[in-house]
Every structure is written in C-alpha cells, then in structure tokens.
Symmetry: C3
Subunit: 280 residues, 3 copies
C-alpha cells in the first residue's frame, strides 16, 4: 500500500493522555470529521498517565496490530508541544502513524530496529522501504497552530488529510531517523535470572510484566514479585488458586488473582521489579 | 430476520468489564473492523465491576432494547475464560447475542423463560423458534485462540462474521439450553411486603432497586432503605424535597436526592435491602 | 443550510452528565440509531459534573466549533427533567442544538446575544435569521415519554429525526427566546484588575480561567491565584519552570505546571478566584 491509495473505509485510531472528561479528544474528532467525514474513529485509550511515554507504548503495541492494514494511528502524548520537537507522519507496511517525535511512535517499529534496553531512548534509522516526514506544510494544518494543542492543530488534520489520499510526502520534508524507545522486554542476567518490571496494571488488578512468553525458560522456575513468590504459570485465570503468573493475551507474563486484584493484594505498582529464576 | 439477512448498516454493541483505559476493548474493535469495516460499534458500558454478572445483566437489559432489531450485542464478562464454559451465539427475534455461557446473556431471554429468583442461576431451554450455537468453528475465530482473552479471539470474530451474513449455524453445533440468571425482580412476602435490593447506583447517586413499577401496590405504602423511610414516590426528580423514591427510566423504583447523591447521603450500597410495605 | 437539507453524513454530538458506566448514553445511542442508522455519533463529554451547567457550557464551547457545519449537538444536563421547562431545538448558521431550555445551549449563541455576567441567567431573544422550536410533536418522540429521561425519549429522537431531514418547524411551535447563561469571561474592575475565576481543571491539573487572551493588557502584569503569584505567561507548557500562566488552546489563560498538576500543587478548585493586575 502506498500513501496514495487509502483504504476505502478509512480507520483512524486515537491514543492520548487527554482523558475523556475534557474537550480535547472531541475537538480532535471534530477536526478529523471536518476534513474527512467518511472515517471511522476508534479510541484506543485516552487514559495514558499524563506524559508517561512507556505506558503509551505498551497500550499502542497491545492494540494497533489488531487493526486492518492501512489504518492510521494517531498517538498524542506530547509534553514538548510547542517546542522544537518534530511532528511526524510515518508510513509502514501495516499502516500510518502520526505523532510527536519523542518516542511515542516506537511501537510502529520492528523490535530489531529499536535501541537496546540499556541504551534508553535513542535516534534510530527507519527500516528500508519505510517513509517518514516532518509535518510542516501549513495548508494541511489548522491555522493558527497553537503552541499548546498539536493534537487538534497538527496531528488530527495531518491524519485526516492522509485518510483522504494526500500523499505522505506532501506533508513536509522527509525524515531519515526518529527518536525511539527500547522494546519492553526483560533482561537476562548472567546468573540466568530474567529481571523485569511491571509495565501496566489493568482494571482487574493484573500486573503485566515485560517478561515475554518466548523468554520463559524451558524447565521449572520461580517467580518473585514484591518480595513474594507467586504460583504458576497457569494457563487460564480460573486455574489459579492464589496469586499466580500466567501468559496474558499480549504475550507477556502477568501476575493475576482470580476474583481479586493481584496488584492490590500484593502491593504491586507500575515499574515494580519482577524476577524469574531457574528453580534450584 | 434470519441470520443470513444481516441489516444493511450492521450495529455491534459491546458490554464488558474491561474499562476503557486498558487496550482490551480497542483490540476487540480492531478485530471487528478487520473482519467487517462497515460496522457501527457502540459501547454500552465497559465499567461492569470485574466479573459481576448481575450488573452486566442490569446494564445490558437497560440498553439493548433501544437498539434496532438485528443489532448484534456482544457481552464479555468472563471469569471462566479458558475453561470448559461454552462460547455462545444466540439468535433472537430482536437481535443476536454473543458471549460466554455463564448467564451474562440472560437479558436476551424473556422473563418467563428465566429461572425464578429463588432458584438462582439455572440452565433453561431456549424459547421455540430461537437458535443458539456453541462457537467452535476455528475458521471464524482468531488463531491461536488464547486462554485469557476470548473477547478478542472468539466473541469479536464471531460477531463480525455474523454481521457479514455468516449464518449462525456455521459457527458451531446447536445448543438447546443455556445458563440463565433470574430476572431482577423483588419478591413479595406473605405479609404483603415487597422485599428487594439495590441493583445499581448510578453517577447521580440514584439507588436503583429491583422493585418494578408494575409491582407497586395500588394504595399507600412506605418505602424503607438503609434503616430509613424515604418519601415519594414522586413523578420527577425535581419534585422531591429530600431523599425520595420515583419510578426511573428503566421501570424500576429508585431512591433519588435532587441536587445530591441519595446513595452517599443515606449510605446505600449495591445489594442493600429495600422494603416496600403497605401503609398501616 | 436549512433544516430541510441535512449533511450527507450526519454527525450528532453528545454532551451529558450521565457518565459512561451507566446505561443512559447507550440507550440514547440506541434510539438515535433506531431512527437513523446512517449517523456518526461523537461523544463530546459525559463527565459534566451532575447538573453543573457552567461546566457543560465550557465543554461544549470548547468542542462544537471544531465540528463541520450542519452537525447536530445534543446537550443533556437536565435537573428539571419532567417539569415545565421546555425542550428546545435550535437551528443556527453553524449547526443544530438540541437540549433543555435551562441555559445549557448558551454556547450556541454569539456572545453579543447573551446576558452580561452581572445579570446571571436571563431570557434572551434569538438572533435574526435563527430558528428555534419547543419540541412537542409526539410523533417525533419516544412513547411514552418518561418524566425522568428526556435524553432518551425527547432529545435523541428529535435529533435523529432532524438528521433525517425532518424540518425543524415540524417538531413543535416556534420559540422566540431562550434561557441563556452569560459568556464565561472575567470582569474588568475600575482599578484595572481583571477579576476572574477558574472554569475547569483538566486531566493534567491545568486550571483554566475565564480570562481571555484578547483581554490581556498590553504591558506587564501580575497573575494571582490561590493567594500566590505565578509566573508567565509563557508560550508553551515546556517553557515553564514552575507554576505559570499561559494562553491555552481555547483562548483562555490557564495555570499550568510542567510534569505536574498546578491545581494539586497550588490547591486550586473550580470557581477559585484569579486576578490579573497591572504590574506596579
């Protein structure tokens, strides 16, 4: 798919830290529909904790891959709005991503293109065959562009124009590299321990860690979190009889408690360390 | 309407206990739109308290009857995900219902087909002329089917295929009976008292009981809740001068407080008993 | 645009104090789609604090102007439901507004048509060329009309029929004047001070005041709120080094704190006074 051949029923997803009580998301939707009334707008989440980029990364990577190819994913977690940080539009084989150049679009990139965990955020080059531009062309923006709300003035109009078939390259000059966050993935230590952290606590109180299913060792192992060893891994939530680990729907190990909140019961917060050790 | 003649603009409603902060609902919507981009998705509520089936029942029965015939209602409150409980698709004269066989689809059934309150959840036979199947046909599911998220892997794909005109019977083998919860309806005691409970406390702090308008006695009566007698019934919220009962928009007696929260003022919680006694 | 020529893809926005956990918004959407399945429904906000009209005014005026001309904006914050207050449909050059006659539609009117701040809510005449009707025609309502939920029984059906091209004048008798709230705008005192108040605290903890960008004095001035002088105005959030004022995306002065909540840090609540004084 090229930027010039949009899908017939354009889908635009939104992920922000704006919440749904305030008028910000609605203003973005008004701008989107003013430019292209024939789109389906889908909210991924507006409950990213203010300005917390890794959570935005977790939420988008957990949702956008389930959307049809060609969807346009707008991600606005943007503490640097109105500063020199660039506004990006990124065309990938799976869809288009629009947002600030602060790492929030990292989930669009394949893992091998992203910096290693030790490196922290880093500027990386685009994979071969991908395109990106800095959104600068004023006729595709809302005028005047405010210094405080690029979701409404820059990202929504750019996404809406893309959904109408405006070629990516018309939005501004090409970009070769973008700021990128490391993959959310636990590190293996020399002693064989997988040392990770809690990425997200969901509404059920499940504590989702950055330990991937494919990184689980083949033999027996012990799972420690919040100073406590938990059971599992079990296969389904209902199989646990107390706090237990299982591989959740996103492929990450999570700590769950049937009919209760594992996070509340164990006192787990986001960023809490979790360790998986080969059983002695 | 048969399953083979879907409405022109297919409507799919979603009711879950997933909340809207997590990526789960968005993943379901992505799956739905990947299979059928021409649907209108409407959220009924994602704020069912985790795994609380009676609340899901109250919310769905308060909303789905207002949707057009032929809409597809997906209800996912599913503590038994990944166990042997069946996944159901149910065709009724008013629309299609998709969800786990744990009672959460009960509001689709007419009251006379449901178990009596004393009986608790029970397996009941489908009314004549209704169809239901256990969703098992792998080509209509997402592969691989996880043990933790059938909303995404089973119910969303099944609903999306139904919306495209796939006949119900292609989704799996027929089902003659399903697990069903009793109607939400206060019991009349021998002394003439209607003994009910609070079903739901809404955002205004109105405490909605399971006492139905049609069960109100013709003469005068006293309404007791939280150890206190409240006024009414009044006709409109603005007519109350203190905590008072009125028949709410769903046909249930509710306790309200104009310009305030009756639930907070009186200390009412969900499941609190309420009694309606003939006046002495 | 006249009421008889609806836009091709009709857009209906919803602003209420119903929240999204309860079934009320979904019931309205079901009624809307039952009458006109070909509409795009957009939520502006359902988190208006129960019955707080000025907040509804702030939220709608911050969002509806970004929607295409011809959109239908339904606003239901309605403590007087079931009383004699009228139900209105209002045709303006920019779109249609539907809601109770309690001031909640005030943001549809140009500022010069609205009462001055000192006057409080007042009945004002419609601008020349505008139309409004009292919604009374039973065939365009849901039967029976409850005394507790006109969002579902009156406003949603009226809006849906308008979206199908039913002329405004068929909904009921013409109305020449409606109840209107003053514009949200700080007052200038004799000593040159701009004396305002906090309109809204957003999810970031920004305290949005009713001091307009165009009312800022040309020279230097001091900004006082919660007994404290704050810096600024700055241009972008990231330029502040502590609590600072800036002109927000809606054209109002707001008090922000980068990477934190100004409202929490300074103890600011809605309605808190704010003053802008010429620097000595």
């Amino acid at each position: 798919m090229t930027a010039a051949s949009p899908p017939r029923a354009a889908i635009i997803t939104l992920t922000t830290d704006f919440g749904t009580a305030d008028p910000y998301v609605a203003a973005m939707k008004g701008v989107l529909l003013s430019i292209n009334p024939m789109i389906a707008i889908v909210d991924i989440s507006h409950e990213v904790r203010p300005q917390r980029l890794p959570q935005a990364l977790f939420l988008t990577q957990s949702a956008w891959p389930f959307f049809p190819d060609g969807a346009i994913h707008v991600v606005v977690v943007d503490p640097g709005v109105g500063t020199q940080r660039r506004a990006l539009a990124l065309q990938t084989p799976r869809g288009c991503f629009v947002g600030p150049d602060n790492g929030v679009l990292s989930s669009a990139l394949p893992e091998e293109a992203r910096p290693s965990d030790d490196a922290g955020p880093a500027t990386v080059e685009l994979p071969a065959g991908w395109w990106a531009v800095a959104i600068t062309e004023r006729r595709y923006l809302r005028e005047p562009v405010s210094a405080t709300f690029h979701g409404r003035d820059v990202f929504a109009p750019a996404a809406a124009h893309l959904s109408r078939g405006v070629p990516l390259e018309e939005l501004g000059p090409p970009v070769e590299a973008l700021l990128c966050l490391p993959p959310l993935r636990a590190q293996r230590r020399r002693d064989g321990t997988l040392a990770g952290r809690v990425l997200h606590i969901d509404r059920f109180g499940n504590a989702i860690t950055d330990i991937r299913a494919e990184d689980l060792p083949p033999g027996r192992f012990a799972i420690e979190i919040a100073g406590r060893q938990v059971g599992g891994p079990v296969r389904a939530y209902a199989e646990a009889t107390g706090p237990a680990a299982l591989v959740g729907s996103g492929g990450y190990l999570e700590i769950a408690l049937p009919s209760g909140s594992a996070a509340a019961e164990l006192g787990i917060e986001v960023e809490a360390p979790v360790a998986l050790r080969p059983a002695r």
